[in-house]
Symmetry: C2
Subunit: 311 residues, 2 copies
């Protein structure tokens, strides 16, 4: 085909206002060039980084990205999966899957549609390749630092992910090694105001009361509010470590020490793995897309003994 002719046709096409119909094209080719991503909820600022990376990687490889939020509802999560399947997405990202997805991922697996779990897996998503971020070293570093400051008991606020989540696991392991007590409160961040405060008060009354708090991104707002209401100074009265700070916050300069990672990088990696998978190279069972980093800031100080048993 002569380049001249190509140009003539192209200009004629423009003149006639012709635009190829991707939808029809894709029907013929038995693909949609669309990838689906299901989120439990958006809220956490770090997800913006993830989306930026994921979205960029998808468009780089020619795919569109259809996103979906379950608004914290497991039923909705499963319904969205089915919708994406009916849509015949070419690939699926299951972002932070809930505890139990039932069989809603099975159709994808059966149809040979590549699906990737991001961050962790649960029941019903345990057979998906996983893209994760390594916690071990950063958590160990944080715990070691806390131990050096005399902390012997920490409390971790996370959301209700039933099968012991990996962070919890690693925290406990580090706790065992460093001879520190690790307690976990799995609680939804949108519980009524005051719930977090009550929990903290309750823990502080115990014999081995925590002198440091770990808080997931979603738990940070209510925990921070609780500390303000209780008049607890950070780090004077209690030390605080947060998880999953976003890029925007990094530039903003929050006061909290944090264990965080590059969300954009994880998004890009997931996108790339998906593209490779679609090209015939299935991803390994587990991929480490990034490493969590321990960033110490002013929210960590010496352990402060509380007045237990105030009666």
């Amino acid at each position: 085909v002569s380049p001249h002719l190509v140009e003539r046709i192209r200009s004629a096409a423009v003149g006639l206002g012709y635009t190829p119909n991707e939808a029809a094209r894709n029907l013929r080719l038995l693909r949609t060039m669309t990838l689906g991503a299901v989120f439990d909820r958006f809220e956490e600022p770090m997800f913006m980084d993830l989306l930026e990376g994921l979205s960029s990687a998808c468009q780089k490889h020619g795919y569109s990205l259809a996103i979906t939020t379950a608004r914290g509802d497991q039923q909705v999560y499963e319904a969205q999966l089915q919708r994406l399947f009916e849509r015949r997405v070419d690939g699926l990202f299951v972002v932070g899957p809930p505890d139990d997805l039932g069989d809603s991922v099975a159709p994808f697996l059966d149809a040979g549609i590549p699906a990737l779990a991001l961050f962790w897996r649960g029941r019903g998503s345990d057979r998906l390749p996983l893209v994760r971020v390594h916690h071990e070293e950063a958590i160990r570093a944080a715990m070691t630092r806390l131990a050096a400051e005399g902390h012997r008991s920490v409390l971790y606020f996370t959301r209700p992910i039933r099968p012991r989540n990996i962070r919890d696991l690693v925290l406990r392991q580090a706790g065992t090694e460093l001879n520190m007590k690790v307690a976990t409160e799995s609680i939804s961040f949108d519980r009524p105001d005051g719930t977090h405060r009550q929990l903290i008060e309750e823990h502080l009354r115990r014999a081995d009361a925590p002198t440091a708090l770990f808080a997931d991104a979603n738990s940070l707002p209510p925990v921070a509010q609780a500390l303000r209401e209780l008049g607890l100074q950070v780090p004077g009265d209690i030390s605080v470590v947060t998880f999953d700070e976003s890029q925007w916050h990094k530039r903003l300069g929050l006061p909290w020490s944090t264990i965080c990672f590059d969300g954009q990088e994880v998004g890009r990696t997931a996108g790339r793995l998906m593209a490779e998978s679609l090209a015939g190279n299935p991803p390994p069972d587990i991929t480490s897309a990034a490493e969590y980093q321990w960033i110490e800031r002013g929210s960590v100080g010496p352990a402060h003994e509380h007045n237990n048993r105030q009666q």
Copy 2:
């Protein structure tokens, strides 16, 4: 058709593993049940609220949402618009369109595909119905408050949106009424470190130096950093007001006074308007989806005269 038969067929379908193919269905019906949304960039945490609302509204009306980021690049923005057009999305959200979109929205308009601009319009997007949030009262309230604290000169940091953006306009108008000077710096937040600091220093050296700062969400991180580096206390040395705080931050309790709105509500409204438009009820030229609120916090205090002309 008897309900009994319906059930028999339904179970037979399940037994055979049949799932309807939406893509083929949509080709036949000349629609895709997909809405496209183009973002200049994600970064700002408020966009998570918007996405939550937009995504919810779309799925409520049976539509999928394909999102796209231009990563701050106008070329990419236009390319994404074209891609979405080839995809034959049924509707388009142009979120915070850049200064000049050229003719890239024209195909949608010509094809009768409803397109909505969110937040503002620019060249090339000026003919789209607009979903906006009213600034006037909140900005006036903030300025009135600052005036009462003795402020006579404020500086506004925003990103480079060339045609005088509406916030700038309203700030200036309020400034005129209240006899306050309003200066604006349109600067990309990802300029080299130190740029914001230099700009602030420069403004502080002037005769009528600003005693208060307004900062868009994207500008807040570098501005906050600059203030830290300059050793300027808030509100002791200078007062600060931010824009577009997210829900997450509201719960977190940031120290800055802010002019913000309910991002989820705006998303829901945009989604609803789009669904109605697709159902034959085109939206009005301008829709107010929410009102900006003025929330005063500790970052606003009495005006503090700077030592100008330090030589």
